[in-house]
């Protein structure tokens, strides 16, 4: 991995310095700056933890189901948690603009709002096919004040080179990352990273820490934790505070059958991004060039899983589980009809795993907590195929 050297060094000019420090820190906890806490309060933190009684009834589960609902944040997903922190650190360093890429759109939306709330500008390179298929996402980012470019774009040398070869190129996350990082380096601004890296998981741990506190206030303890895994940031942020306490807790990581990284991926050094701009890390991976067939849950298409999560899976501390599209759509319908919440397709995996668990352990009386990482109001098209 001799290419890693330069990419690790490169992080110094790419990431906010404090993010990089947190990436390499040994600290289990980082103090949340007051300014970030204040923004968290404004964008809907703490997010609700509620008991899903109607789902319990529907499933005939004799224990309790709790839902941690990250869809209640202003941008509708957990992504805002780390975006706010990263944009804050960038702003504090005197950086006046941040840039990132986005595929499904959640991360770009989070970056756009986080930048605005920290008084800095933002630029988002959005994979062209998503840009065209998800106009609402583009609109929200613009509403939050971001400049949004369809990638490949003419804004960067790399984008131009791609367009020259293939003017109608539909774009890819790899190309968008390349453009965003190139744009950051060229303009001396900072790049925000949406998942996989340690610092991101640390920021997301606000989910799990809040959940612990909320359970404590309810006089409850968690026995089973269920979340979905794209890069691993919502899952890690949700479960690590529990796992870190060394308590007996079952953690189930729900991924897409179509992206079987935790079952059929190799545990090895691999590139974090298709373009190889970011460092390689040791993780379960299907290979950075892996192209999943379907896109119904865009956030779960990532080829790998955060290194720390990979280790926990390898060590049997986290149990991976794969769910396919049909089961996810059914789970989303069940959740909508019982609890009224239209969850994101990604979160639908966690809900599907929850339903599986409850059906298999009907007589158990455990406390299950499921992290519903986002709402699905802007992804309703996935129901097209079941005629809704």
């Amino acid at each position: 991995n001799s290419s890693d050297r330069s990419s690790i060094e490169l992080l110094n000019s790419l990431l906010p310095r404090e993010v990089l420090r947190q990436e390499f820190t040994f600290n289990r906890y980082e103090r949340i700056p007051d300014e970030v806490r204040e923004i968290y309060a404004q964008i809907g933190r703490p997010t609700p933890l509620f008991r899903a009684r109607r789902l319990e009834d529907f499933l005939g589960y004799r224990g309790k189901i709790f839902v941690k609902f990250e869809g209640a944040t202003a941008t509708g997903s957990h992504k805002i948690n780390t975006a706010v922190a990263q944009a804050y650190y960038a702003g504090k360093e005197g950086i006046e603009e941040v840039v990132t890429e986005t595929g499904a759109g959640q991360w770009g939306t989070a970056t756009a709002l986080a930048a605005t709330m920290n008084g800095i500008r933002s630029t988002v390179f959005m994979v062209k096919v998503s840009y065209e298929q998800k106009p609402l996402r583009k609109k929200i980012m613009s509403l939050y004040g971001a400049r949004v470019y369809a990638s490949p774009s003419t804004e960067t040398p790399f984008g131009r080179s791609v367009l020259e070869k293939e003017p109608g190129h539909p774009g890819s996350l790899g190309i968008a990352i390349s453009e965003a990082t190139e744009y950051a380096l060229e303009h001396g601004i900072r790049y925000l990273v949406g998942s996989v890296m340690n610092a991101v998981l640390t920021h997301q741990s606000v989910i799990g820490l809040e959940t612990q506190k909320q359970l404590e206030l309810m006089g409850e303890e968690a026995n089973v934790l269920i979340g979905c895994v794209g890069g691993g940031s919502n899952f890690g942020g949700f479960t690590y505070p529990f796992i870190g306490q060394g308590k007996e807790v079952e953690a189930i990581a729900s991924t897409a059958e179509e992206v079987p990284k935790l079952s059929r991926g190799e545990f090895r050094y691999d590139r974090m991004d298709t373009a190889g701009v970011l460092p390689s890390v040791k993780m379960y991976s299907l290979g950075a060039d892996f192209v999943p067939k379907k896109i119904y849950a865009g956030g779960l298409r990532y080829h790998g899983a955060s290194p720390s999560l990979s280790v926990l899976v390898k060590n049997g501390i986290v149990r991976p589980e794969e769910v396919g599209e049909a089961e996810v759509i059914e789970a989303l319908q069940v959740f909508a009809r019982t609890q009224g919440i239209v969850a994101a397709p990604e979160s639908g995996h966690a809900i599907a795993s929850l339903i599986r668990y409850c059906r298999a352990h009907r007589e158990e009386r455990k406390n299950i907590v499921v992290n519903v990482s986002g709402h699905g109001l802007l992804d309703l098209s996935i129901f097209d195929r079941v005629g809704i």
């Binding site: 991995n1 001799s2 050297r5 690790i8 060094e9 992080l11 110094n12 310095r17 404090e18 990089l20 420090r21 990436e23 390499f24 820190t25 040994f26 600290n27 289990r28 340690n198 870190g244 060394g246 050094y269 040791k282 290194p307 720390s308 280790v311 390898k314 060590n315």
Partner: protein, 244 residues
């Protein structure tokens, strides 16, 4: 007394120059020496140390013995550093060779990271060959990994301050050190990786009973054959360790 540990890549930049530096080391106030056995891909080393491996000849068993004997003669404990991935197939042969060299023990920087699932057995084998196993803990490792491997080893512990040598990334030295020390209470702990200057060292050891391992910072002297500069730097290092 705080330990001063030097790292040198065996036979770098050439067997001759290396030997001259080893002679110099044996005259300096050094506690331990780690001798890196050249390899193709020293994954947890940064660019400077990587370069010392590139094209450098692996020592023979006899060269290894000679080096150990020389350092032992000066009262310096000697360890060989080897990536486990390079010896995975010939572990026992390798351990036999090291043991025969008279060395005090070995460091396998990737064992607890990339091979942690079978690591207990390998550590047991090191011990069976009459060698110390110096556990290498890096800041990305989970608590329970550190505690587990600390409990089954007996020598001093080598703690990296950052995940790779010689890479310029920001890190929170104080926090890393305090956390490591709290996990390794009652044990001799020496820190390495990311100590770029005397100032870094002073900050690290100030008010703490810990030693330091220096590698990357020595390379320019070794590469240039600058024995005098080398001597001065090591002497200053010792000074910082005594003063702070």
């Amino acid at each position: 007394m705080r330990k001063l540990i030097l790292y040198l890549t065996f036979n770098y930049p050439s067997p001759d120059t290396f030997t001259r530096f080893l002679d110099e080391v044996s005259r300096l106030p050094v506690d331990y020496v780690e001798l890196g056995l050249p390899t193709q891909n020293p994954v947890y080393d940064g660019p400077a140390i990587r370069q010392t491996h590139s094209g450098t000849r692996r020592p023979s068993a006899e060269e290894m013995s000679r080096a150990v004997k020389k350092l032992h003669g000066a009262g310096i404990r000697t360890y060989f550093l080897q990536y486990f991935r390079d010896i995975e197939g010939q572990r026992d042969t390798f351990l036999t060779t090291v043991n025969a060299s008279g060395a005090d023990g070995i460091l396998l920087p990737d064992l607890l990271i990339d091979f942690f699932q079978g690591a207990e057995g390998h550590i047991h084998a090191v011990h069976s060959h009459g060698l110390d196993f110096v556990p290498f803990f890096n800041p990305a490792m989970p608590d329970r990994t550190i505690s587990r491997f600390s409990s089954i080893t007996r020598s001093w512990a080598y703690c990296g301050l950052i995940p790779s040598t010689g890479i310029n990334v920001p890190y929170d030295q104080g926090a890393v050190v305090e956390r490591m020390l709290s996990l390794l209470r009652g044990r001799e702990v020496n820190f390495g990786f990311g100590l770029r200057s005397l100032e870094d060292v002073r900050k690290l050891v100030s008010g703490r009973d810990v030693g330091v391992a220096i590698g990357t910072a020595l390379i320019p002297y070794v590469r240039e054959g600058d024995l005098e500069g080398f001597r001065k730097f090591v002497t200053e290092l010792r000074g910082v360790l005594c003063d702070s």
